[in-house]
Amino acid sequence: MLTQQEAKNLIDKAIAYSKLPQCQADVSWSEDAFIRFANNGITTSGYRITQQLSISSVTEDKRGGNAVVSELTDDAIKRGVEQAEALARISKPNPEDMPALGPQKYPVLGNFDSYTGAARGDVMIPHVKAVIDSARQSQLTAAGYIQRSASVAAVGNKAGLFGYHTYTDSSLSNTMRTAGGTSSGWAAQNSVSLKDINGETAGRISAEKCVRGAGARKKLDPGKYTVILEPAAVSDLVGYLGFNFGARDAEQGQSFLSKQGGGTHLGEKMFPEYITLRSDPFNSKFATTPWGPSLLPNERMAWIDKGVVKNFYYDRFWASKAGKDPTPAPDNLVLDGQDNTLEDLIKSTDRGLLITRFWYIRTLQPQTLQVTGLTRDGVFLVENGKVTDPVTNYRWNESPVRVMQNTLKLTQPVRSQGAEAGSSIVPAIVATEFNLASVSDAV
């Protein structure tokens, strides 16, 4: 790992070479090891180190330039600084530039695990074997991916700010398919510690889903359905919701938080009182840094509190114009849950669909946050509180805002990751009136 002193030396060098009034240097360094498998065998895998130094310089009259280098010799850093400064001098004044922050007191986060940081094939391959064994036991074919990373983020500027942080992360995901491609099951685990990853469990869940989905799949008519969304599906929806909490877009008519005729929905109760969406960078399950894009210390922030739109994301510039304090970026999202299990949600549903995860989600309309996407790797009919038949996949056109508004019950949240929106800590939910637009023949 790149130590604090080594990172500081790189940053100090960049600042020492700088001739303009403002200079900020960001160091990213990471080491990762990964194994990919398919058709019940390992395919590609690797081990690598990556590094970069990003230098941002600003003139007296707010002209900014940025250069990113991956060579970190004295010459390369000097040249990077010269390049950033040359670009800054050529550029035009940026009216949205904010003065550099001075020294900050950053919180200490406990998201580095040394076991994970040193892990290689010898500790990851047994998990791969366990997944493949599960597949073979059920005459299925497994594909998947296990990885771990150890990362360093460091930042400093001419005004005396300095931050250094190390964190680890790991994940295992796997997909199992029947020989004829008639069914597919999926499971994933994410944790800052590889010790939490368990190939046997992940393999068992995928295999169960795949086997359960292998019967004749019902092709229900498109329409509005009650859905039970597992955490990976909820994670994608919550991510899309989080992306759209910017004050600027809300105030300027470009988000679901904009009001018809002008103004915003801040302070309004838009959701049921059991919906609370917040950022929690101090949750040690998140692989995150003690600062966000503004370089202010990260902090907890509720975006939706008991159904009420509580806060918007104000970057430093927009906050200064609005006369508000800046808020942290809507990252490290947690959707609070309830004391239910997935089984409880299923039992409480007369007729609905249990959905494993989503795929290829894209925005259709910012003001309603209507998005389109597909289901994937396991859709099952729930009738009279029981999972009955496998069902085809569907394209859906729906808004995460409406899904949260139509949510009836939630489980306890877990760290999860879908296909599109990064990692979050979310429960499974049951929601009504979910709009399935057409059948997808994909398995």
Binding site: M1, Y47, G253, P366, D441
Partner: protein, 534 residues
């Protein structure tokens, strides 16, 4: 199992050795100025590569290749948007220059692939990383499906540069900013336009490849990508619309930016975003579609480009990007679309974003039919896949997006052949009674086996009685790949053929991006299901 050596200590020491060194900038010394006359790779690169090849042999690897690469990207532009609570405009410039340099070593040992990479391009680190790659391969052989088999390729010693007239990195940044500032000011000139955005990207790859089979290949690729976008907002109706001037991104120099006529197109974008804002919503139902190349390229990409990737078909992407409906028994006989449909995989066509002389397997690239008269003919393949479908050579589709990424099968340029010379876009429109003309990218989504898609666009015009009418809004169409392509009944001639493309196609774990182009002429599709979105 034997524990692998602890990497952090070695890594840190190696890192410090470089971080405190005082050599001249290594990447510049190795790659030097781009050359289009010299046909031989740099001897300094060959010397470094030889370290990996020798070390791999020593460690018992049966195959080794090393890629020493440098990537440069420059982004510049302007955002013009209103100040908070006022009609005054903030003009926000941006400019960044990014460089990434390092090497990756790939080996086959005990019949398995191994890969390792580092940003420290020194003989010592190359030897160490090569040992790491061999260790990875040997460890993996414990869970082996079948040994890796490589289709044969010739050994090449060559140097190649993508054609360009004017180096985009040599154009002064103030000239670039001035161009984008002028264009965005023109868009924002009408106070009813809410925001304007102008973006200019230049990208270059310096690639060096050497293999234990005797190849030594140095290549230099230059690409440019300019774009303009206007946004309009109606606060009373609580809606916003955008309109873009999408320019063909190309493997080319600054001359392509000059030809794009950004300044001349800005007033059109300004007028059309306001027309889009006021445009009535589409009446949903079955309609004929005339799709322009700036739109159709992405439809080709999603439905045909991805479905004919052999790694998907064989299950290698099952856990991430997905599989494909185009299963192997369909090769040579499956009717994907109408007889007008002729699609090629091609890494040789001038200007294509995936165009290169040799792929990242060191294979000489080719052009090959993917769909011929509507029938599926060939998959995109690389060396370790060819034998899996009974073929004896790779089709040259291997690519890694970084020195730190594992090379694997990626999409070449996949293009639709033009129709008869005399057919014009107006002819296509004239044959439509009730339809929509679509230009540009909108919201794109397709399932993991490439059947069910829903595509939007950047601008939509109603076609009534064979004539293009006013703009429509809130349009998306939904179909199934084969249903859609079977309704293709008209393609305009070669003079309307354009290649649009993307730099951001994602696939693989860890995810990699890929750039490719999809040339096509305006084309007509019959009775497609059109939706009204929110």
């Amino acid at each position: 199992m034997k524990a692998l050596p602890s990497p952090p200590f070695l890594t840190r020491r190696a890192f410090l050795a470089t971080a405190t060194g005082s050599s001249v900038l290594l990447a510049n010394r190795l790659f030097g100025a781009p050359s289009d006359t010299d046909t031989k790779p740099s001897p300094a690169l060959e010397k470094l590569a030889a370290v990996a090849l020798a070390e791999a042999r020593k460690q018992g690897a049966t195959y080794c290749d090393i890629r020493i690469n440098r990537y440069r990207q420059q982004f510049s532009g302007y955002r013009l948007s209103p100040q908070r609570g006022s009609n005054q405009t903030d003009e926000v410039p941006f400019v960044t220059d990014q460089q990434s340099f390092g090497f990756g070593v790939r080996v086959i040992a005990n019949g398995q692939w191994g890969f390792a990479a580092s940003p420290l391009v020194t003989p010592e680190e190359i030897a160490r990383i090569t040992r790491e790659a061999v260790l990875v391969a040997k460890a993996n052989s414990a869970v082996q499906a079948s040994p890796v088999e490589l289709a044969p390729t010739k050994a090449y010693t060559d140097r190649w540069t993508s054609p360009y007239e004017k180096d985009p990195f040599a154009v002064p940044v103030d000239e670039k900013l001035e161009l984008m500032h002028g264009a965005t000011l023109t868009i924002k000139k009408d106070p009813k336009v809410f925001a304007a955005f102008g973006f200019l990207a230049a990208r270059a790859e310096d690639k060096y490849f050497a293999s234990s089979e005797g190849s030594s290949i140095q290549q230099y690729i230059v690409q440019v990508d300019p774009a303009l976008q206007a946004t309009a907002v109606d606060f009373q109706k609580n809606i916003s619309r955008t309109r873009s001037y999408q320019v063909q991104p190309l493997s080319a120099g600054w001359e392509a930016v000059a030809k794009a006529n950004l300044a001349e197109n800005a007033p059109r974008i300004r007028a059309e975003v306001l027309e889009h804002l006021a445009a009535p919503p589409v009446a949903p139902g079955k309609k004929d579609l005339v799709l322009l190349p700036s739109h159709l390229y992405l439809t080709i990409h999603e439905s045909i480009g991805h479905s004919t990737e052999l790694d998907r078909v064989l299950g290698y992407e099952a856990n991430f990007a997905g599989t494909s409906f185009m299963t192997t028994e369909k090769m040579g006989k499956f009717q994907v679309g109408s007889e007008l449909m002729n699609i090629f995989g091609d890494r040789t066509n001038e200007g294509g974003l995936a165009t290169v002389k040799y792929d990242d397997d060191g294979v000489l690239t080719t052009k090959f039919p993917i769909v011929e008269k509507g029938v599926f003919k060939h998959y995109q393949t690389i060396r370790d896949q060819a034998h899996l479908i009974g073929e004896t050579e790779s089709r040259g589709c291997c690519y890694a997006d970084s020195w730190a990424s594992v090379p694997f099968q990626r999409m070449p340029n996949v293009w639709l052949a033009p129709g008869p010379r005399e057919v014009t876009p107006d002819d296509l429109i004239a044959g439509v009674d009730d339809g929509i003309l679509i230009e540009g990218e909108g919201s794109y989504s397709i399932d993991q086996q490439r059947y069910n898609f829903q595509f939007g666009g950047d601008a939509f015009w109603e076609i009534k009685g064979g004539k293009k009418r006013g703009m429509l809004s809130r349009v998306a169409y939904q179909s199934k790949t084969t249903d859609f392509w079977r309704t293709l009944d008209g393609i305009a001639g070669a003079s309307y053929w354009q290649q649009f493309g993307s730099f951001f196609d994602g696939k693989g774990e860890p995810e990699q991006i890929n750039a490719m182009s999809h040339g096509c002429s305006p084309s007509r599709f019959r009775q497609v299901n059109v939706l009204l979105t929110d």
